[in-house]
C-alpha cells in the first residue's frame, strides 16, 4: 500500500501499463497530473490543439498495436478531443483519453471551463469513467486500458476532477480488473467453425472480404493461408488495406464506393463470401440488397452486434479473427475440399484485373493524382507507413498506393475525419522511428490540422506530407460535378496558403516539384535528411476519382469515368 496523491498514482498506473508516450496539451484542471508527469520518464508530446493530440494517440495506436494515450484539460480541452476520440472509436483503435475536470464540489455549477464530458463523450466512446476518489485512480486507469485494448477495441475516456488529482490516499494497484457485464469471446464456438468450414469447402466461387479486424488481431498470415487453401480472391475494406500484400496474386484490392472494378465485380459473382473483421458499412456494401447477391455470407467478428446488422448472413463465427481463421483452416485441412482451385474462378480474377485497368489521360498538362501516388510509392521503402487525409486524396491512396503489410496504411475510415492524417502520422512516427511516415494529403484536409507542423518540428518527429493540391475540397467538388450539375458551392479554396512558405515558417522543409521525377527526388531527400517536409504537388483542380459507385447504387454499377 502506498500513500500518495491521485496525480502520482496516475503516473504510476500509466507506468504499469508500460506507457512511454502521452500526447496532449495542459491546462488548469490537469495541472497536478502535469506536475507529476514532470518527474517521470514518460515522453510528453505537446500538440498545438487537443484534436491533434487525440489523432496522434490514434496514429500511435494503429501503427504499433499498443494503446495510444492523450491528455487534455477540462472544458474546451476536453471537447476539442471529441472528434479524435470519435474517429478512433469508430475505427476500433485503442485510445485512452484523460481529461481534467473542475473539482468535485464545483461540478454542476457551470464553473469556469466546466463541461460534462462524460455526457458529451458517451456516444463516441466504448466506455467512460469519472473518477470520484483518488483511491480509485489506479483501478480507473487499469480499467480504461483493459477495455480499450480487448474485444472490439475502442476509445475510453477517464475524467479526473482536480481535487481528486491532489488528494493523498492509500493506493492499491490492481493486477486485474473485471466488469460483470463485459465478457470477451475470443475463442470461437467449434460448431460455428464447423458450419463455416463446410460452407467454404463446398463453394465453387469462394471469396474473402477482410476488414480492420484482421489487422487488429494480427491475422494477416492466417488470412493469406486460408485464401491460398481455398484459392479464393481477397478484397479488403478501407480499414483492411495492408492485411494482404498488394502483390499477392489472389488480392483484388479494395471494394466499395471507390473499390476496384475486379473486387466489386467478383463480390457480385461469388457464391460464398467470408467476411472477416468488417462491419460492412454503407461505403463498403453500396446498396445492401445488391451486395454480393449470389453469395452465402459467413461473418466472422468479435463484436456479435455487427453480425446481421447491415447484411444478412447464413452463418456467423463470433470470436477473435485470428483464432477463427486458424480454426477454419484446421477444419478445411481435415475435410477434403470439393472445389479447391476451381481454375475457372481463378482465371476470372485475372480476366477482370486486365479488363479494369484505368485508361491513361492524354493531353492533360497537370500531373495526375494516381501517377503522383505511384511515384511516391516508388520512392519509399516497402515497409514505409502511410496515413491519409480524407476525401479524394484518401480514395486515390486507397486505389493506387500499394501496401504490403498490416499497420502500414492508416486512414480514418468510419468517421472520415479531415485533418486526421497529419497528426496521425506524427503519432505513428512516435511509435515507429525506424520507418519513414508519409501523410498523403489534400490541401483542404491538411489545412485543418496544419498547426501540428510545430509539434512535428519541435518534438523532432519528422514526417513527410505530400499534398495533392487541387485548390478544392475535391471530393465535394467531384459530387457537385457529377450529381449537382457542376454548381460549385463552398469548394473553391483559392491560392492561400502557400504551403511551401507555410512549412518554412514552421522550420520545416517545403518543396513544390514540377514533375514526377522531381517529386521522387524530394521524397528521397526528405527521408535522407530526416526532417519534416511538406511537398506541395499541384494537380488538376477537376480531376475525378474513379472507379466510383454512385450513391444508392449496387457495387456492380461502378463507373470508370464521367
Amino acid at each position: 500500500m502506498l500513500r500518495i496523491s491521485g496525480a502520482e498514482a496516475f503516473v504510476k498506473a500509466l507506468k504499469r501499463e508500460e506507457v512511454d508516450t502521452v500526447f496532449g496539451l495542459p491546462g488548469g484542471a490537469i495541472l497536478p497530473i502535469c506536475d507529476a508527469l514532470y518527474d517521470s520518464d514518460i515522453r510528453f508530446i505537446l500538440a498545438r490543439h487537443e484534436q491533434g493530440a487525440a489523432h496522434m494517440a490514434d496514429g500511435y495506436a494503429r501503427a504499433s498495436g499498443r494503446v495510444g494515450v492523450c491528455l487534455a484539460t477540462s472544458g474546451p480541452g476536453a471537447t476539442n478531443l471529441v472528434t479524435g476520440i470519435a474517429t478512433a472509436n469508430i475505427d476500433s483503435s485503442p485510445v485512452v483519453a484523460f481529461t481534467g475536470q473542475v473539482p468535485i464540489p464545483m461540478i454542476g455549477t457551470d464553473a469556469f471551463q466546466e463541461v460534462d464530458i462524460i455526457g458529451v463523450s458517451a456516444s463516441v466512446t466504448k466506455y467512460n469513467i469519472q473518477v470520484r476518489r483518488a483511491a480509485d485512480i489506479p483501478w480507473a486507469v487499469k480499467a480504461a486500458f483493459y477495455l480499450a485494448s480487448t474485444g472490439r477495441k475502442g476509445a475510453v475516456l477517464v475524467d479526473i476532477p482536480k481535487d481528486v488529482q491532489v488528494s493523498v490516499e492509500d493506493m492499491e494497484f490492481p493486477e486485474k480488473v473485471s466488469f460483470r457485464g463485459y465478457r470477451v469471446q475470443e475463442e470461437p464456438d467449434p460448431r460455428e467453425l464447423d458450419w463455416a468450414s463446410v460452407l467454404l469447402s463446398r463453394a465453387k466461387r469462394p471469396m474473402i472480404l477482410a476488414g480492420g479486424g484482421v489487422i487488429s488481431s494480427n491475422a494477416s498470415r492466417e488470412l493469406v493461408a486460408l485464401a491460398e487453401a481455398l484459392m479464393a480472391p481477397v478484397a479488403t475494406t478501407l480499414m483492411g488495406k495492408g492485411a494482404v500484400p498488394k502483390d499477392h496474386p489472389l488480392y483484388v484490392g479494395g471494394c466499395g464506393m471507390h473499390g476496384t472494378g475486379e473486387a466489386n465485380t467478383l463480390l457480385a459473382e461469388a457464391d460464398v463470401l467470408l467476411v472477416v473483421g468488417a462491419r460492412l458499412s454503407d461505403r463498403t456494401t453500396g446498396l445492401v440488397k445488391d451486395f454480393s447477391p449470389n453469395a452465402k455470407v459467413i461473418h466472422v467478428d468479435i463484436d456479435r452486434s455487427e453480425i446481421d446488422k447491415n447484411v444478412e448472413t447464413v452463418t456467423r463465427v463470433v470470436g477473435d479473427a485470428r483464432l477463427a481463421l486458424v480454426g477454419i483452416l484446421d477444419r478445411l485441412r481435415r475435410i477434403r475440399l470439393e472445389s479447391s482451385g476451381d481454375s475457372e474462378w481463378v482465371r476470372r480474377i485475372n480476366e477482370l484485373r486486365e479488363l479494369y485497368v484505368m485508361p491513361e489521360a492524354k493531353g492533360n498538362p497537370h500531373m495526375r493524382a494516381p501517377e503522383v501516388i505511384k511515384a511516391l510509392r516508388r520512392s519509399l521503402p516497402r515497409d514505409a507507413i502511410v496515413t491519409t487525409e480524407v476525401g479524394q486524396c484518401q480514395m486515390w491512396a486507397s486505389l493506387y498506393f500499394d501496401s504490403y503489410a498490416p499497420r502500414t496504411f492508416l486512414t480514418s475510415g468510419g468517421l472520415g475525419t479531415m485533418g486526421w492524417g497529419f497528426p496521425a502520422a506524427i503519432g505513428a512516427k512516435a511509435a515507429r522511428r525506424d520507418v519513414p511516415v508519409v501523410d498523403i494529403a489534400g490541401d483542404g484536409s491538411f489545412a485543418m490540422t496544419e498547426n501540428n507542423l510545430a509539434t512535428s518540428v519541435e518534438e523532432e518527429l519528422p514526417v513527410i506530407v505530400v499534398i495533392l493540391n487541387n485548390r478544392m475540397l475535391g471530393m465535394v467538388a467531384q459530387w457537385q460535378r457529377l450529381f449537382y450539375g457542376r454548381r460549385y458551392f463552398g469548394v473553391e479554396l483559392g491560392k492561400a496558403p502557400d504551403f511551401v512558405k507555410l512549412a518554412e515558417a514552421y522550420g520545416a522543409v517545403g518543396a513544390r516539384p514540377e514533375s514526377l521525377e522531381e517529386l521522387e527526388r524530394e521524397v528521397r531527400r526528405a527521408i535522407e535528411v530526416d526532417q519534416t517536409t511538406v511537398i506541395d504537388v499541384p494537380i488538376d483542380p477537376e480531376e475525378n476519382v474513379f472507379p466510383m459507385v454512385p450513391p444508392g447504387k449496387g457495387l456492380k454499377e461502378f463507373i470508370m469515368g464521367a
Partner: protein
C-alpha cells in the same frame, strides 16, 4: 415487417449514469421506447430494467445485441411473449364532486380491482394494476367521469415457471 410490442428485460450495474447510457443508446440508434421501468435488486449493486419497444425482429435483435455490448449491462433477454406475465400500475385522480360521478367512479374502480388511496369532497385517487391494454380500457371507461390527472409506471414483467433472466 411486423412491428409488435416486445418486452426486453435486463440487469445493469446500479450506479449513476447507467440509465442515461441505456436511454442514450436507444436515442442514438433510433429505437423507440414505449415504456421503461427500473428498480434495484436484493444485491444493491444491481438493478433490473424493463423496456417495452415496438420493433420488427431485426431491430429487436439489434436492441438486444447493442444492450448486451454495453459494459454496464450484465444480462439481457427478450422475454418470451407467450410465457410472460406483464403488469403496469396507474394512479388516477377523478373529478367526483357530483355524487353520480362518484358512484360511477367507485363502480369502475371496483370492477377493475382497483384500490382507493384518497378521497375528498372533489376527487378520488385510485390505484389500478393490470396489463397495458386493461389500463387503457379502464382509462377509457372513466374518462367521461372526468380525469384530473394520472401517472403510469410503465411495464414490469417476469417470465413464467423455470424461465429466468
Amino acid at each position: 415487417m411486423h412491428r409488435s410490442l416486445s418486452i426486453v428485460s435486463f440487469l445493469v450495474e446500479n450506479k449513476p449514469g447507467v440509465l442515461f447510457n441505456v436511454t442514450n443508446l436507444f436515442r442514438r440508434r433510433g429505437f423507440n421506447i414505449e415504456s421503461i421501468s427500473v428498480g434495484p435488486l436484493d444485491d444493491p449493486e444491481l438493478a433490473r430494467m424493463t423496456i417495452t419497444v415496438r420493433a420488427d425482429s431485426r431491430v429487436l435483435n439489434q436492441i438486444v445485441e447493442q444492450l448486451d455490448k454495453m459494459v454496464d449491462v450484465i444480462k439481457v433477454k427478450r422475454l418470451d411473449p407467450i410465457r410472460t406475465v406483464a403488469r403496469e400500475m396507474i394512479l388516477v385522480k377523478l373529478q367526483t364532486s357530483d355524487p353520480m360521478a362518484r358512484e360511477e367512479a367507485l363502480k369502475n374502480i371496483n370492477s377493475y380491482h382497483g384500490l382507493i388511496l384518497d378521497i375528498d369532497a372533489e376527487s378520488i385517487i385510485a390505484e389500478v394494476t393490470g396489463e397495458t391494454e386493461m389500463i387503457d380500457e379502464f382509462l377509457k371507461k372513466v374518462s367521461p367521469i372526468g380525469i384530473l390527472e394520472f401517472s403510469r409506471t410503465g411495464v414490469t414483467a417476469l417470465e413464467k415457471g423455470r424461465l429466468r433472466l
